[in-house]
Subunit: 530 residues, 2 copies
């Protein structure tokens, strides 16, 4: 068994069953090894940003890491933006980067790069394998680190010569070493400045205006129901972070307002609070700085209390803590407020606008759907219209690095083949990692993509004024315009084997969406918005 | 004048007239500033890999840096692969990365990343602007560093608040400082272990088998003609580096054999040499390591002599040195051997194969063409068939990071609007930065793209056997297969506003190519190879 086969075998033993690859020469032994490890599924991405975003989507839905397979520094570079989003989501990812053979590095061959420097900013754990004998231990520690808590991007660099070296049979003492390291990593205490449930209970019972800000695992059923009981027992207001990794929503769950992306609005949401209790979320800050506007959004005179640290979506930490707190508050008899009504919203008619588009989605979103949301400005109305839709999961752009949505949807489709994935994509963002459609077609994934097409970087038109630019000139507006030439997403989808159609009216869009949601496999709708 | 406007103005004053942008919120003041600096042309790329590759192509053809405009760490991440290629090409690039406002960084907002760590591996010069007052000096030093020699990627990080700060009028003493720094940077001595022309002349005259290996500026007319005279005077063999940044070729120039990508062949090319003289090239090493094959390709017992260091394409260093050497050898009366014959090759017929495709290109390549070559395996025959074509420039994949070709062609088209650009793209590589087509359409660039479509990562099929994998299994072969689903590049090109056609026979391809080369503006041919 060579190093690559052993590594794949070790991944499977540790519960990693999916390897998303965009391999090169230095990874050929991994590719070849896939056939000797039947439990490992190999999925090909045509670009590394697709690979890393797919791993993120898969990890968010399964709470289990997928492995990536990237080709040296430049391949890692192409995957960085979506690893950044995964890091912000605390998603477990085992990020495997092939490197030149150890003895080849000193020749500074064309692809030679400083992989560690590239990997450091997005990796919660990093190791370059130093000898074939430690490869198995390294893999197991990488998986343990990825799993957390919190979930992490664990980057393991594997020199090509280790992957083609025949490994000795593992002896028991080595095995013990692996187990030891693994337990160590999994149980390592995390730094904490949290307050106890008792302390927080006192804060919330004092009668002053309070907000409980939810994030991470607090946004699953357990945490949401407990939080609602807490709010009903104490009068505290509930909010959730702006871009959660994953939010459970719809009928039977409390509907939680998110902290607004526009800091002007966020300030209004937080205004007047004397206490801010953080349950799996960080204290809110503005996404960007704007001249004359605050960066730190906690109101003056508001004290911040940490009930649970952000933990990503690998354990139930924040949810458990919230339940304990609810019980402590004597709220066990107080009900949660949950969204009701499965009655379909009326189907919209007339012009296709951001609002009628949202109406159609609200009317049609099926039970168990997973929404990958990179709809940016034009998707503004969709959350409102889907509040009482059947139960569904919502995945957000955690790290703000666009090009996340379509790979994330691909990963969700691989993770949950029995759930419909709805991928909401702004036109500008769609052009970053469009190659994900090809993987969706190849794997027959059940993903309906909606391109919210307004022919521009509309978010940036808004941002232009927010940063204090008065009247932009012609050249400036050209830089935010996507309509010369118009992008034909139907052609682009067809080019990668995905059926697609264009919708120009609300009726048109509703019909296309109905078709997409009722037809298995990938489908794309170019929603031409007015 | 705010910082962004001042920066753009300073770039123009330093000779940087093109800004290729994929901006975000933190770069909005640059976007707005374009209108106040009429000499600066702004070109939009829909993905950062397009932006950086376009800057590389522009710099290779003009020897002048273009400026990029990237959005924080994740935007830089997306541009890393092509910055890596630019670094390997010694191309001058002023790589501007917008960052959060200085006072916003401590909040760890979603897009916060360690930009320096990401930039370091691809940047020959790096600076994060520390105060608005030094912004102009920083810009000028960045340009000076980029220009070199050798040409570099100079990364300048500009916090958002500096770009919106009003700058004081520059006073003379500051101006002097700029000039000083600039001259300092431009004239800084480079480390050198070169031998003198006299010493090398002795080596080449000693009668032992010698090879002169050319790279960088030695591959322009002056260096090529001088090298040929040297070879004819001394019997030395001429070779050039495997992936030069830019090679001048065709009728009237010596035709120089490249060191083969396959190290097995390279070893044969270099066999028996007792002296290897490097003129603008590095000593040859294998691209990757392969089990049981050498990494360092210089034969045992062969001594290496450095006539000129690699200097990129910003000055004429290596060319001048070669001319001096030729004169010293008394070779001024010895002619260069140059390729002759403008008689068109016969147009091919029958099946469309890598060889008939090469025949068609050889028959039709027009005078002054620029070839951007990312054709990988299927382009194997093209150099041979174009040896006696009219004079043209050839751009190679310097750093091995695929996804270079189409952005590079875009940059060449921007740099040389009066020359036809032929972009030779392998199908797998084309899927990395396909968005370049949209910029070609928007700017009306005169680029004919040929997709060499064999439905697979054929290079990796070859590599699989070269790294010692015997018979690959089904799952392994799946990872190298691009035919399920087939990619329809005609649809993809049309989707981005580029006219396109598919060719299935040699006659078909020849007709399409003739049309593309004779019609101004972008055009794409999907060459379906047998």
């Amino acid at each position: 068994m060579n190093g690559a086969q052993a590594l794949l075998q070790a991944l499977v033993e540790e519960g990693v069953k999916l390897c998303i690859a965009n391999p090169g020469t230095s990874e050929m032994h991994f590719v070849a090894g896939l056939d000797s490890v039947p439990e490992m599924r190999g999925v090909l991405g045509l670009f590394e940003g697709v690979v890393t975003g797919t791993a993120d989507g898969y990890g968010r839905m399964t709470k289990t890491p997928a492995a990536t397979l990237l080709h040296l520094g430049p391949g890692l570079g192409n995957g960085i933006a979506n690893l950044h989003n995964a890091r912000r989501a605390n998603t477990p990812v085992v990020n495997i980067v092939g490197d030149h053979a150890t003895y080849h590095k000193r020749y500074d061959a064309p692809l030679e790069t400083d992989i560690q420097s590239l990997a450091a900013p997005v990796s919660g754990w990093y190791r370059c394998c130093e000898q074939p004998e430690t490869l198995l231990r390294d893999v197991k520690e990488a998986v343990a680190a990825a799993v957390g808590p919190p979930g992490k991007v664990a980057t393991l660099v594997v020199p090509a010569d280790f992957s083609w070296t025949e490994l000795p049979q593992t002896n028991p003492s080595q095995q013990q070493l692996f187990e030891h390291s693994r337990n160590q990593a999994r149980t390592s205490p995390k730094p904490s400045v949290t307050e106890t449930a008792e302390e927080i209970a006192k804060v919330l019972s004092c009668g002053e205006p309070s907000i409980v800000l939810l994030g991470g695992n607090a946004l699953e059923e357990k945490g949401l129901l407990a939080a609602s009981r807490i709010a009903n027992a104490t009068g505290a207001k509930l909010l959730c972070e702006t871009f959660p990794a994953r939010l459970e929503r719809g009928c039977g769950l409390p509907s939680i307002e998110r902290v607004a992306y526009l800091s002007e609005l966020a300030v209004m949401q937080l205004e007047g609070a004397k206490h801010l209790v953080l349950a799996g979320a960080k204290a809110p800050v503005s996404f960007f700085a704007y001249p004359g506007k605050p960066s730190y959004l906690v109101p003056q005179g508001c004290s911040v209390h940490v009930l649970a640290e952000p933990d990503g979506n690998t354990v139930n930490g924040a949810g458990d803590v919230l339940r304990d707190l609810a019980d402590l508050l004597g709220a066990e008899k107080i009900k949660s407020t949950t969204a009701t009504g499965t009655k379909a919203n009326e189907k919209p008619t007339g012009q296709l606008t951001p609002e009628t588009l949202a109406g159609a989605i609200g009317a049609l979103l099926p039970e168990g759907a997973i929404v990958s949301d990179e709809s940016n400005t034009c998707g503004l109305f969709v959350p409102q219209y889907t509040k009482t839709s059947p139960r569904h999961s919502w995945l957000f752009l955690t790290g703000g690095a666009i090009g996340q949505g379509m790979p994330l949807a691909t990963g969700a489709g691989l993770a949950c083949p029995n759930r419909k994935v709805l991928s909401l994509e702004a036109d500008g963002s769609a052009m970053y990692t469009l190659q994900a459609l090809w993987t969706q077609a190849r794997e027959g994934l059940d993903v309906t993509t909606v391109i919210l097409d307004n022919g521009s970087y509309a978010l940036l038109q808004l941002e232009l004024s927010r940063v204090g630019v008065g009247t932009p000139g012609h050249k400036a507006l050209e830089m935010l315009d996507l309509s010369r030439p118009d992008i034909d997403f139907v052609s682009l989808a067809n080019g990668m084997g995905v059926e697609a159609a264009r919708a120009d009216t609300a009726e048109d869009f509703t019909a296309r969406l109905e078709y997409g949601l009722n037809t298995p496999g990938p489908y794309l709708i170019q929603a031409r918005l007015k």
